[in-house]
C-alpha cells in the first residue's frame, strides 16, 4: 500500500537567506567580542565568585539600615509618581501639535521630537540631566519625565487623532470657542484611554526608578551602587531584596487591579 503524501512545501529562499544572515551575525558577534570565558571558568575565578556570592549571604537586617532602605524605596516611588505626573502634563501639551491641530509641519516636527525623547532610555537621560540637576533624585525625576513624555505624547496624540471628530465640530458650529469645544467634546472621549496609558507607564516607571540611581540619580539604585562599590555585599543584598519586593508588589497590585477592572 502506497500512502499518498502531500507535496512538500517549496523552499522560501528569502527566509533561508535571512536565517543565514542571522547565523552570520551570531558567529560574528561571538568572534569579535573579547569575552573572558577562560578567566571566568578557571578554578580560581570560580572560587572568588563563590566567595563573593557567599558575602551576600545574611542580608543586613539592622533596623537603622532597614529604615534607610525603606526611605530609599519611598524616594523611588515618589520619583516615579512625580516623573509620570510631569510627563503627563508635558505629553498633554505636546500631543496638541502632534495630533495635527496646528498644521502638518507642526505635527511632523513635534512627532520627530517625541521620537527622539522616546528613543533615549531613562538611564541615558539621567546621565545627561545630572550635569544640569546635580546628583540626587531630582535629576532622576526629570529623566523619567523626559522619556515618559516622549512615550505618552505619542500615545496621547494618537488617541486624540482617533477620537470621533463630530462632537467637537458640532460644538464649534454652534458657536463654542475652540478651547471649550476641545475640553468638553474631545478630551472626555480620550480621557479613559489616556488614564490607562498613564497608569501603565507609571508601573514601568517604578521599575525604571528603582535602577535609575545606578548613575547617581537617587532612590534604591543609588544605594545599591554605593554599597556595591564599597564591597558591602550584605547591605547590597538587602537593597536588591527591597528592589525585588517593590517590583513584585507593583506587579501584584497591577495584576489585581487589571483583573478587578476587566471582570
Amino acid at each position: 500500500m502506497k500512502t499518498r503524501l502531500p507535496p512538500p512545501p517549496g523552499r522560501d529562499w528569502t527566509v533561508i537567506s535571512l536565517m543565514l544572515l542571522v547565523l552570520l551575525l551570531i558567529v560574528a558577534s561571538f568572534a569579535s567580542l573579547p569575552l573572558k570565558w577562560r578567566e571566568f571558568f578557571t578554578l580560581d575565578a570560580v572560587r572568588s565568585t563563590l566567595e563573593l556570592l557567599a558575602g551576600f549571604a545574611p542580608p543586613e537586617l539592622a533596623t537603622p539600615f532597614l529604615i534607610k532602605t525603606g526611605w530609599a524605596a519611598v524616594e523611588t516611588m515618589a520619583m516615579s509618581a512625580l516623573g509620570t505626573l510631569l510627563a503627563v502634563a508635558a505629553a498633554l501639551l505636546f500631543s496638541l501639535p502632534a495630533s495635527g491641530r496646528m498644521g502638518r509641519t507642526a505635527r511632523t516636527a513635534m512627532r520627530a521630537m517625541l521620537n527622539v525623547l522616546r528613543s533615549i532610555p531613562e538611564l541615558v537621560w539621567a546621565a545627561i540631566l545630572l550635569i544640569a540637576a546635580g546628583l540626587g533624585p531630582f535629576g532622576g525625576t526629570l529623566a523619567l519625565a523626559a522619556h515618559t513624555a516622549g512615550v505618552l505624547g505619542r500615545l496621547f496624540a494618537d488617541a486624540l487623532e482617533n477620537a470621533a471628530p463630530l462632537p467637537e465640530q458640532s460644538l464649534r458650529t454652534n458657536g463654542a470657542s475652540a478651547s471649550a469645544a476641545f475640553f468638553y467634546a474631545t478630551l472626555p472621549q480620550t480621557l479613559p484611554q489616556m488614564l490607562s496609558y498613564t497608569l501603565y507607564r507609571w508601573e514601568n516607571n517604578i521599575r525604571a526608578a528603582a535602577i535609575l540611581g545606578v548613575v547617581g540619580a537617587g532612590g534604591l539604585g543609588q544605594m545599591l551602587k554605593y554599597h556595591l562599590s564599597l564591597f558591602q555585599m550584605q547591605s547590597a543584598a538587602t537593597v536588591i531584596l527591597a528592589m525585588l519586593l517593590l517590583v513584585a508588589m507593583v506587579d501584584g497590585v497591577s495584576f489585581a487591579l487589571r483583573r478587578a477592572l476587566t471582570r
Binding site: A28, F30, L33, K36, L82, F138, I211
Partner: protein, 277 residues
C-alpha cells in the same frame, strides 16, 4: 435673572473638583520634598554655565575620523553584546520551555491530571525563570562587573540571564496558547514529546515565537547600551566616559548614533517580522 444664575454654580460638580485638587496638592507636597524637587537649581548660575557649555558643544557633533572609527567599533560591540547575550539566553530558554510546556505532558492525557512529580518539576523550573527575570538586567550587569571586571562579558551574561527568564516564560505561554489538538493527537497516538513539539505545536506557533524573539533582540540592543553605563562595554561605556568629561560634542554624536541604531534595529525587526510572520 442674575440671582438665579449666581445661586447655582455653572459647574455642578465644583465641590468634588476642588476637594480632589486640594487632596492632590496635599499628596504632592511630600513627594516634592522627598524627590528634592528644586527647579530653581537648574537656573543657578554655576549649573547654568556648565549646562550651557555642555549644550553649546552639542551643536557641532564630534566628527574626527578617528573618533568615528572608534564609535563604529563600539556600536558593533553593542550589537554583538545583544546578539551574543540573546543567543546564550536561547540556549537556556529553549530547554526550559520544553520542560515547562504543559501541552507536552503525557500523564495529563486522558485524565487531565498531571503526575505530581511532573507538576513539581514544572513549577520548580517556572520559579527559576521568575527569579532570573525579576532581577533587572542592570543589577545583573553591576554584579558581573564586580565579579569579572569591566568589559563586554558582564553585559553578555546579564542579558543572557534576564532574557533567559523572559523568553522561557513567554515561549511556554505562546506554545500553550496555541491550538493543542495537533500535538494532543500525536501524543495520544504514541509519538515522542520532541516529535509532538516539532510537528504538532511548533508549526502553530512558529511565527509568533520568531517575532517575539526579534522584538527581544531589539530590546537587548537598547539594554546593552544602558548596561554600558555601569561598565559592561559598548556604546554606553564610552558615552558614560564622555559625559563625565563633559565632552558635549562627543555625547552629541553618540546620541545621534544611538537614536539611529535603535531606529535601524526597529526597522530590521519590523521587516524580519513581516517576512516571517
Amino acid at each position: 435673572m442674575t440671582t438665579t444664575l449666581t445661586s447655582t454654580h455653572p459647574d455642578p460638580a465644583w465641590r468634588g473638583r476642588v476637594a480632589a485638587s486640594v487632596l492632590a496638592l496635599l499628596l504632592l507636597w511630600p513627594m516634592l520634598v522627598v524627590t528634592e524637587f528644586k527647579p530653581w537649581l537648574l537656573l543657578d548660575w554655576q549649573s547654568l554655565s556648565a549646562t550651557g557649555r555642555f549644550l553649546a558643544d552639542f551643536l557641532v557633533p564630534a566628527h574626527s575620523s578617528e573618533f568615528l572609527l572608534m564609535l563604529a567599533e563600539q556600536t558593533w560591540q553593542t550589537v554583538a553584546i545583544a546578539t551574543a547575550g540573546l543567543t546564550l539566553a536561547l540556549i537556556g530558554a529553549i530547554p526550559a520551555t520544553l520542560i515547562i510546556n504543559e501541552q507536552l505532558s503525557i500523564s495529563r492525557l486522558g485524565t487531565g491530571r498531571m503526575h505530581p512529580l511532573a507538576r513539581a518539576v514544572r513549577q520548580l523550573v517556572r520559579w527559576k525563570m521568575v527569579l532570573l527575570r525579576s532581577v533587572p538586567e542592570l543589577v545583573w550587569a553591576l554584579l558581573f562587573v564586580r565579579i569579572i571586571g569591566l568589559g563586554p562579558t558582564a553585559g553578555v551574561l546579564a542579558i543572557a540571564l534576564t532574557y533567559c527568564g523572559m523568553l522561557g516564560k513567554v515561549y511556554a505561554e505562546i506554545l500553550e496558547s496555541s491550538d493543542a489538538r495537533a500535538s494532543n493527537a500525536l501524543l495520544a497516538n504514541g509519538s515522542g514529546r520532541l516529535a509532538a513539539l516539532l510537528y504538532g505545536a511548533l508549526p502553530e506557533a512558529a511565527a509568533e515565537l520568531m517575532s517575539y524573539t526579534v522584538y527581544r533582540w531589539e530590546c537587548a540592543i537598547r539594554g546593552s547600551v544602558v548596561m554600558g553605563f555601569v561598565g559592561a562595554g559598548g556604546l554606553g561605556q564610552r558615552m558614560d566616559e564622555s559625559m563625565k568629561m563633559l565632552a558635549g560634542a562627543e555625547v552629541s554624536t553618540m546620541l545621534l548614533v544611538f537614536v539611529a541604531l535603535v531606529a535601524l534595529a526597529d526597522l530590521f525587526s519590523k521587516t524580519l517580522r513581516r517576512r516571517l510572520g
